[in-house]
């Protein structure tokens, strides 16, 4: 589903991603972990071109999204993203948040978009909040709405950038539950997270980034019990 070849990303003189190559198969769930500033967010944001790669290629569903001929908007429709700070549209209701892009971008009718939205709200357990404005929701509810909003575009890939890091501890679980349910649907997922237990439980593979390098790329059992690199060992000692 996603193939990354020799990806390099620089901000001016600062090289943040250094020659990253990996693949994410269809339906695979990949956890991306690593210390702060290692380039996790940047890697994720390259996959939907919120950051433009400096060099290398990224293929999503067989399409080279780094090619100048590629229709970026089309790629993004197919790749949902969930942010640490939710980024809901504050001037739209929950329903408005969920139906806006499907209507505007995919051209669905209000009725069709509404049906998809209500269905998703039920799945994330927020049917009764449909007409509320985001400011009336708790952090956990906001993030579940944000997940539903991304899913409303019916993407093939979902990207999560620390979806629980901005939440109060008691709200982390409800969001992780929604994500676990999502894993069962077989959608391809890339998740930047500090929730090691969650990563170990749901991920098919763990990518460990450090200083812009992809240092480890292994199944969670291997990574969490016997990481190859010293850096990963040190990191795990600190966080586990």
């Amino acid at each position: 589903m996603i193939r990354i070849e020799h990806l390099v990303k620089s901000f001016g003189p600062l090289e943040v991603l250094k020659d990253i190559s990996t693949e994410v198969g269809t339906g695979e769930v990949v956890a991306i972990i690593g210390p702060s500033g290692s380039g996790k967010s940047t890697l994720l944001r390259c996959i939907n071109l919120l950051e433009v790669p400096t060099a290398g290629h990224i293929f999503v569903g067989g399409v080279d999204i780094t090619s100048p001929k590629c229709d970026i908007l089309k790629v993004r429709q197919n790749v949902g993203m969930v942010f640490q700070h939710f980024n809901l549209f504050p001037h739209k209701t929950v329903m408005g948040n969920l139906t806006y892009a499907p209507m505007k971008v995919r051209g669905l009718s209000k009725a069709d978009a509404g049906k998809i939205a209500l269905d998703l709200l039920e799945k994330v357990g927020l049917s009764e909040k449909a007409e509320q404005y985001p400011s009336r929701l708790s952090g956990g509810q906001k993030q579940r709405v944000a997940i539903a909003r991304a899913l409303a575009m019916e993407p093939d890939v979902m990207l999560f950038d620390e979806p629980t890091s901005a939440l109060d501890p008691e709200m982390v679980k409800e969001v992780l539950e929604v994500m676990k349910a999502l894993v069962k649907t077989g959608i391809t997922m890339c998740i930047v997270t500090h929730e090691m237990g969650f990563a170990r439980e749901v991920a098919d593979r763990v990518l460990f980034l450090d200083g812009g390098y992809l240092v480890e790329d292994a199944p969670p059992d291997v990574f969490f019990t016997s990481p190859k690199s010293d850096r990963a060992q040190q990191f795990l000692e600190k966080v586990l």
Binding site: Q77, M81, N87, S135
Partner: protein, 219 residues
């Protein structure tokens, strides 16, 4: 000193009709000015340098010269330049729109910059194109932030609109002068339009407060 409002009573309807002229002029100039100001603000935050330069240059011209000079230039120079006999009201609306575009573009630019950049990222990540993103997501939030500033801008426009009396538009101010000329009373007609301007400005301020409160309800 004696005041004689009685003598100008017959002229009162004539003066009151000026309210419509002044209000229509102000609303039209504000709408055109803010629309143009929005476009200018988009140029100012564009990544294309020449567009930014143009917008900055435009703003500096209108901020760096007196409004009454701009008005005179447009009104008196247009016929000479392109042979079109521009009417006073056209010249007024044209000048005031261009002028308020220059000022409001700064405000609107600041309003756009103040919208959380996560809003842009969320829109982009959903595949929303630049235009709908601006129109539906960014600008509504930007305008909400700067509503008080835009109301102030409109109030300034309302008061400055009295300048068009100098090129012969029959607005409130001009009508006061006409009545003064007919009755040889200056204080009374000027006081009457002064009160009218004051009431309109207070009304606008009040309306803005109500609007702001209503908009804040969604926060």
């Amino acid at each position: 000193m004696k005041l004689d409002f009685g003598q100008i009573m017959p002229s009162l309807p004539f003066i009151l009709n000026g309210i419509v002229v002044t209000l229509r002029f102000t609303v039209l100039s504000a709408l055109l000015g803010f629309t143009l100001g929005t476009l200018l603000s988009l140029l100012k935050i564009s990544s294309v340098k020449p567009l930014r330069w143009f917008a900055e240059f435009y703003t500096s011209i209108f901020r760096g010269t007196p409004l009454i000079l701009q008005l005179a230039l447009v009104y008196f120079a247009t016929p000479q330049l392109i042979g079109y006999r521009i009417s006073p009201i056209e010249a007024g609306v044209f000048t005031f729109s261009l002028n308020s575009a220059a000022y409001s573009s700064e405000t609107i630019r600041a309003g756009i910059m103040a919208v959380d950049k996560g809003q842009r990222e969320a829109s982009l990540s959903l595949g929303v194109a630049y235009r709908p993103m601006m129109l539906d997501i960014i600008l509504p939030q930007a305008f909400k932030n700067i509503l008080p500033a835009l109301v102030n801008e409109s109030i300034a426009l309302l008061k400055d609109s009295a300048l068009v009396s100098t090129i012969g538009v029959l607005d409130l101010m001009r009508r006061a002068q006409v009545v003064a000329g007919q009755t040889f009373l200056y204080f009374e007609p000027l006081i009457v339009v002064g009160v009218i301007y004051y009431v309109m400005v207070m009304g606008l301020t009040q309306a803005a407060n109500v609007l702001e409160r209503r908009m804040r309800r969604s926060d």
